[in-house]
């Protein structure tokens, strides 16, 4: 019934090329090297199972005494949230300026553009934990060091994301305003920024979510918040205390994540 095909269908499988074979060999070799280099040892995991069980045995049930554990834990969790919030908000002006200077659509000068991008790359490349260690030596142990660390690192990450959003704006509106005689700054403030504002807000909320989680890790290196308490209870072998803190962290992270994605959904519409 069916009409004869005009041309034979191509074969299901093409002969593998030399390049494909070579790629497989190289990727395979890389994994062998990585396995050895990272000291991966299933045997050690099996032997260590005992230790893990002891550890869990001590952690469960969690220590839920209100005045010595839960209350300080909640207070510290609030500090962690504060660090994440301030670290995000205070980086907004820096991220905005660097994003505008680094985007092709808002900055015609190639030198300025490259300079701004380099600053952003540097801030992004240095992990927030490293910034935290630096600032702990500068302003001492405590949440402020964590805030500073987040401001620096988040400026790099958020500035890059914002810059990319600005580069993807519709060239038509920019062109139209330029024919109205608008200057570069005016085109930025009347065509680019209004178009990307919802996206910038969405990325900001996403970063808030990430930063609250990072501020936890910052606490581990002495920059305040509940991470600091977790670190302490591990060092004192108070694993039941630690479990309580981790449960609090879990609740905090889920709450911030839910809130941020709910707001982002609303903006997206």
């Amino acid at each position: 019934m069916t009409a004869p095909p005009l041309a034979a269908a191509p074969p299901r499988l093409r002969r593998p090329s030399v390049l494909a074979a070579l790629t497989v060999v190289i990727v395979g070799a890389a994994h062998v090297l990585a396995w050895r280099g990272a000291d991966v040892s299933p045997a050690a995991l099996a032997e260590g199972w005992e230790g893990m069980r002891d550890f869990l045995g001590e952690a469960v049930p969690p220590d839920l005494s209100w005045s010595t554990v839960v209350r300080p834990g909640l207070d510290a969790a609030l500090v962690t949230l504060y660090i994440g919030l301030l670290g995000t908000t205070l980086s907004v002006p820096f991220a905005l300026v660097l994003a505008v200077l680094g985007a092709r659509t808002t900055t015609p000068n190639a030198f300025v553009q490259q300079a701004a991008r380099s600053v952003l790359s540097f801030l992004r490349a240095v992990p927030d934990v490293v910034f935290a260690l630096i600032f702990v030596t500068a302003v001492g142990l405590g949440p402020f060091a964590g805030v500073l660390a987040l401001v620096f690192h988040n400026t790099g990450v958020m500035g890059k994301l914002w810059s990319e959003a600005m580069e993807e704006t519709d060239p038509g509106v920019r062109e139209a305003l330029r024919t109205n005689g608008a200057s570069g700054v005016q085109v930025t403030s009347h065509a680019v920024l209004p178009a990307v504002l919802p996206q910038l807000a969405g990325l900001l909320l996403y970063r808030l979510d990430v930063n609250v989680r990072s501020s936890l890790v910052l606490g581990l290196v002495g920059a305040g918040g509940i991470g600091f308490l977790i670190n302490q209870s591990i060092r004192l072998f108070r694993f039941d205390e630690m479990l309580t803190y981790i449960l609090i962290v879990l609740a905090l992270v889920i709450a911030v994540d839910q809130l941020s994605s709910a707001v982002r959904r609303r903006i997206g519409r």
């Binding site: 519709d170 038509g172 509106v173 062109e175 139209a176 305003l177 330029r178 024919t179 109205n180 005689g181 608008a182 200057s183 700054v185 005016q186 403030s189 009347h190 065509a191 209004p194 178009a195 504002l197």
Partner: protein, 264 residues
């Protein structure tokens, strides 16, 4: 505000010997075009014949390789730099895809037409726009029949209404030469008639010089005073709308070699 000052000696827009080549391909090969105050000129031509390029050269979005663009007898910065100078602000352009800021109100979008003459401290955000500008913009919206929608976000207006807001933005620029690149290509017949009627009124009653790229010869005949046809890099038609024979229009779109031997 612009008043009808029909100027028969110098055309409002005068293009001479306009040439433009993209990567060795000559798109415009010496175009001469005059648009006088008070007339609506339809620019016709097949896809790729260079209609948009010609308009973009006039407005300063492309830099011509040769030729001159004069507005009221004054040379524009078209060839010298990308950014239109004060003279070239007398020309404005509207586009097929409208290019308004959808989230902003119609009024704020119209005010943006004045950006070229506002200092930065009065124009960094719409909140800083002077009161007189907002009044002028309201008047521009009234001229396109949309004063009652001034506060509404542009995204909530229909395509035809949006195109009229774009025309109002051009008016707020105080332009007296209005270029329109396929202003009705995305509009339904009713909105098309409305927008082209508006362009006709702006030309005949308010004395603007209007050049509009159209894709339908019938619309050009109905609305335009004059028709120019682009083919093979040159103007092969330039005559009052009533005097253009149908065969000439058919030739414009027929395949096969044009006068310069270029095929699409």
């Amino acid at each position: 505000m612009t008043t009808a000052t029909p100027d028969t000696t110098t055309a409002a827009l005068s293009v001479r010997g306009l040439r433009k080549t993209f990567a060795g391909r000559t798109v415009l090969d010496g175009i001469d075009l005059d648009v006088r105050a008070g007339e609506l000129v339809a620019v016709l031509g097949a896809n790729g014949s260079g209609k948009s390029t010609a308009l973009r050269c006039v407005i300063g979005l492309e830099r011509p390789d040769a030729g001159s663009v004069r507005l009221h007898g004054e040379e524009t910065a078209g060839q010298a730099g990308r950014r239109p100078a004060a003279v070239s602000r007398r020309a404005a352009m509207v586009f097929q895809h409208i290019h308004l800021v959808p989230r902003r109100s119609a009024l704020d979008n119209v005010c943006a037409g004045a950006l070229g003459r506002l200092p930065l401290r009065r124009s960094l955000t719409p909140l800083l726009f002077p009161r007189e500008l907002r009044e002028e913009a309201m008047a521009c919206l009234a001229r396109v029949g949309l004063a009652d929608r001034a506060g509404e976000a542009v995204a909530r207006l229909s395509g035809g209404q949006q195109q009229r807001v774009a025309v109002a933005r051009a008016l707020c620029q105080r332009a007296d030469v209005l270029l329109a690149d396929e202003p009705v290509a995305s509009l339904d017949p009713a909105a098309t008639t409305q927008v082209l009627d508006l362009l006709g009124v702006l030309a005949r009653d308010e004395g603007l010089a209007v050049a509009a790229v159209l894709h339908q010869p019938a619309l050009a005949r109905r609305h335009a005073d004059r028709i120019v046809g682009l083919r093979g890099g040159g103007l092969v038609i330039d005559a009052p709308a009533g005097d253009v024979p149908a065969s000439a229009l058919d030739d414009l779109y027929s395949h096969g070699p044009g006068p310069e031997g270029t095929t699409p």
